[in-house]
Amino acid sequence: MNRDQSRKVGSAMVVGGGIAGMQAALDLAESGIKVYLIDNKPAIGGVMSQLDKTFPTNDCAMCIMAPRLVAIGRHKDIEVITLADIEKIDGGPGNFRITLNKKARYVDEATCTGCGTCVSNCPTSNRVQPVQKEKIELQPEFKEKVIEIVESNKNRDGPLMPILQQINSAFNYLPENTLNYISQETGYPLAHILRIATFYSAFSIVPRGKHIVNVCMGTTCYVRGSERLMERFSDLLKVKPEETTPDMMYTLKGVRCIGCCGLAPAVMVGDTVFGKVTIKDVPDILSKYKKTA
Amino acid sequence: MAKLTIDELRKKREEARKGIYLRQGEFKGKIIVHMGTCGVAAGARQIVSAFMEEIEESGRKDVMLTTSGCAGLCSREPMATVETLNTPPVKYIDLTPDKVKKIFKTHIMEGNIAAEYAIGIGSERGG
């Protein structure tokens, strides 16, 4: 190994732009050394940028990282090289010579503001890559209905929402296998379907009870004491809000205003609305549905 | 159903108006049939039907037919009060379907009081 340190170079390379690499780069640069920070991803940040909280302090990940990102961006002695792999390392300590393979990205980094518009407009990025070659078999209890729903909506503009809504109302939830099937049939990536399915409060990806008890938590109902109704339902059904009874009969849910403010506080079971509900009425409402159970 | 043209839509509107005229609140005449126990016993139901037939036949959409309680003159039932715009109400007594025909013609259609069946002009106040 070449131990000739007579021609030391005042620069260092940090490989990997995660939180550790970023801190290292900053520390080096602060000590007056020119730093090359390289990463094979299109941007620095690493895994931490995908985290919400960090263990064990539950600190916000972005809050820790963001100042460092800014500092690196502004530091005159740090040069960030992204989308690059190391090909070859020559030389020795104090005097390395490194060859990088920098991939093309066709975006001018100097002028890009990172608005993301190119991503959403890219005609090829949203197309699903057929990973699963064989056709997904639906469970027999869902099969007929799901196929019918998907077939009848497939060719509409924006078919995803109507399909999910109809399946959700047919089974009270979205069975996982069905989502795979929808993905295969419509071409939406499964990740996207899951994102939609978990965004809306009307959808559920876990099975729910036969009767969904929606306690209105709109302002009017709240002012008129719907919170106590919720507690009473919770006591009687022995479940917490957003949970389902073990016999799969009831799911208790808080809902954002069902528009029956004149009858506050209101409760909606299935599509039936009960108005001016008092704590005393709660057992009666539930007993109405017991019979049909 | 065939698609409508503008003229057909207008025709439809005229037709449909007949269906909801009771709610429009534009009335020129008002007939009140008194239907207390005494009136009903004396045959006020027939009188109501008779008036309804008349209204239907005439095609008038500005005549309101309502019922009310006993007018107090039980011996002369069936009775009815007829009122047209800007004139005092007139009470008619001892009605029969034939008399109804005449009263409707002279009072509602022509605007003259059918004096031979009337007992009085004006209405008692209150109640």
Partner: protein, 650 residues
């Protein structure tokens, strides 16, 4: 068409249906048939009448007699007396609170008197499931006028001159929006009716769909003609099943008549509408987010400009109007922009529907001219606050709005004055609050709402609301610190600046307005650790007043956690260590006894419960013997002591 004598306008809005309106309809029909009146009397089901507090209700036409709070068992008597014998039944009529006499005529009820119906012109008059009845009430005359006689530009010009502004909340001039879209040269274009009425406490759009769906269809058709669109969507909340059903019926009827579809009314204009449902996400009311939702993308708002009128759904120019705005359009076309612009104030024209709800006597939907004073709405139309409580504030604009306090009760209601007072028009919810409402709790409620509904795209909104909620929760639990209020204000203003869509920029409003007008309440929570309205659970205690308790066991049986100890004729005692403060004991205690009370602040901290069960009679005796200064050994709970160790009993 056969002549009828009486039309019974039975309200079947969601509210009245919940009260059993369809059961009443069946009973009436049975009774009518029993007396052979079926050819003379017809039962017409109408959409929401607006006076939802009186439901189920019915208006008898042509007399205009108003019956409220109907029950099936009253019907046989009513049919016999009124429809057969012609004697209106006083017992079932509406009795205003300030009067003893019932008011028979709908037109004399103050709730209806003060209103001015433009959008809701057909409410309670037509059967929403019959297109003929809408046509009879001059329905589709506007299309009749527009299609052959007016050029698209003339329609836009007319709407611009009328001064109509968006009824969804922001109040953008409708004509201008149409103009921008019609100037775009990209085709096809789209129109979207926004009925994603997410604001809790507002339900005018639902009511509009339930009572007069065709007026929305007509308005949409005119808008489509004006901007050159051939397709339309109606985006409606899935929480409104009845509204969706009625709109579907209306759409298929309009298609049957050729009022939607190809070559409408023999012209060259094609237009059709499709219903899309939301799925319970508040942010979808925001226009760009709504578009994403229909497209099946993740429903997050995007940066504007470009506005949807330039680049909207499927990348095409799109006008998004609130359905209330659209329902106003036919009336403007029929009666002219000049007539419309005479109603209202200088900047806000026409009428607006409000849902007047909360702690108010006459709850319901009201349509009033812009510029009406808040006082008129609350005291004359609304009939004041129940149980003679004091009016405290009215919350307008939903989670984006603010609270308007008592001293601004003369405020004229229009877009500008509401914004100036720190609130906003919003979709028109008016939630009245009385002295029993805690403003800190209300602010917390709304921030909880927006925190839940924030889509998570902008940090300011997502994390900012979280931080606001944390501080508010702290305050409401009696852990508030000096400086918290200032922090709330500062952070609130920062969120306003840094968020992208309407949800984020308005989310601090409930805090900012309550801090502005009710700072003393915040300070009471922080300094005195007391909740003046006795709402915040951590700051109150339930207490059975021994002087009033009769030992009836009602509260003992009701308590879900068995925290109340007592036997018959013994004074009941609440075990504070078990009490979950659910308030059921207070509700169950008969009003003439009213032994259960709530304590807060110092009172609650120094509460001394009775040491053990004492018979009611004995308590009265000892009390009179000791002339009132009888003292019990204080009874303190373990958990309680931990909380305030410094506050040891001497």
């Amino acid at each position: 068409m056969a002549v009828r004598r009486i039309d019974l306008m039975l309200c079947t809005g969601t509210g009245c249906v919940a009260g059993g309106a369809f059961r009443i309809k069946d009973t009436i029909e049975n009774e009518i048939t029993k007396y052979g009146l079926q050819n003379e009397v017809s039962v017409v089901i109408t959409g929401c009448n607006g006076s939802c507090g009186q439901g189920p209700l019915m208006v008898v036409q042509p007399d205009g007699i108003f019956y409220g709070w109907l029950k099936p068992e009253d019907i046989p008597f009513l049919v016999q007396e009124h429809f057969l014998k012609g004697r209106p039944v006083k017992r079932l009529m509406f009795v205003p609170l300030e009067r003893k006499e019932p008011v028979p005529l709908m037109s004399n009820i103050p709730f209806f008197q003060k209103q001015m119906l433009i959008v809701l012109r057909n409410k309670g008059i037509i059967d929403p499931e019959k297109i003929d009845e809408y046509i009879a009430r001059d329905g589709y005359t506007a299309i009749e006028k527009v299609l052959p006689l007016m050029k698209p530009d003339e329609v836009i010009e007319e709407i611009m001159r009328s001064g109509l502004r968006g009824r969804g909340g922001a109040g953008f001039p409708t004509g201008r929006k149409w103009k921008v879209c019609s100037d775009e040269r990209k085709f096809p274009k789209y129109i979207i009716g926004n009925c994603d009425e997410g604001d809790p406490g507002a339900y005018m759009d639902r009511s509009l769909f339930e009572s007069d769906p065709h007026s929305v269809i007509e308005g949409m058709t005119i808008a489509a003609y004006a901007i050159g669109a051939s397709r339309g969507y109606i985006y409606v909340r899935t929480e409104y099943p009845l509204a969706i059903r009625r709109m579907q019926i209306a759409l298929s009827q309009a298609r049957d008549y050729g009022l939607l579809g190809k070559k409408i009314l023999g012209s060259d204009f094609d237009f059709d509408v499709e219903i899309r449902e939301g799925s319970g996400a508040f942010v979808c009311g925001e226009e760009t987010s709504l578009i994403h939702s229909i497209e099946g993308k993740s429903p997050e708002p995007r940066q504007r400009p470009p506005f949807p009128a330039q680049i909207g759904i499927w990348g095409c120019p799109t006008v998004i109007n609130n359905v209330e705005t659209l329902a106003t359009v036919p009336v403007i076309i029929n009666r002219g922009a000049d007539w419309f612009s005479k109603i209202g104030t200088a900047t806000s024209k026409g009428t607006k529907i409000f849902s007047l709800v909360g702690k108010i006597n006459n709850t319901g939907l009201i349509e009033v001219p812009m510029g009406i004073a808040l006082r008129e709405i609350i005291y004359e139309i609304g009939g004041g606050i129940p149980k003679n409580k004091k009016f405290k504030a009215v919350q307008t604009g939903g989670p984006s709005g603010g609270c308007i306090p008592n001293n601004l009760i003369g405020l004229p209601i229009d877009y500008e004055s509401l914004t100036k007072s720190g609130s906003m028009m919003g979709s028109g919810g008016m939630i009245v609050m009385d002295e029993d409402t805690c403003m800190v709790d209300v602010a917390k409620f709304f921030i909880q709402f927006t925190n839940d509904e924030s889509c998570g795209k902008c940090t300011a909104c997502r994390d900012g609301s979280e931080a606001l909620l944390e501080v508010l929760t702290r305050i409401s639990e009696g852990e508030g610190k000096e400086g918290d209020v200032e922090f709330l204000e500062e952070l609130g203003l920062a969120i306003k600046d840094a968020s992208m869509c309407g949800l984020g920029t308005t989310l601090p409003n409930p805090i900012l307005s309550t801090v502005r007008y009710f700072k003393d309440e915040y300070e009471a929570h922080i300094r005195e650790k007391q909740c003046p309205a006795r709402v915040c659970k951590k700051l109150i205690k339930y207490y059975v007043d021994p002087d009033r308790c009769v030992g009836c066991l009602l509260c003992v049986k009701t308590c879900p956690v068995s925290a109340i100890k007592g036997e018959l004729k013994y004074i009941h005692i609440i075990d504070q260590s078990l009490c979950t403060k659910c308030g059921q004991c207070l509700e169950i205690c008969p009003p003439r006894i009213a032994a259960v009370t709530k304590l807060t602040g110092k009172e609650a901290r120094e509460l001394q419960s009775l040491p053990g069960p004492i018979p009611v009679a004995e308590w009265k005796k000892t009390k009179s013997a000791s002339k009132g200064d009888f003292r019990f050994t204080p009874y303190r709970e373990e958990t309680d002591r931990e909380h305030r160790g410094d506050n040891e009993v001497p």
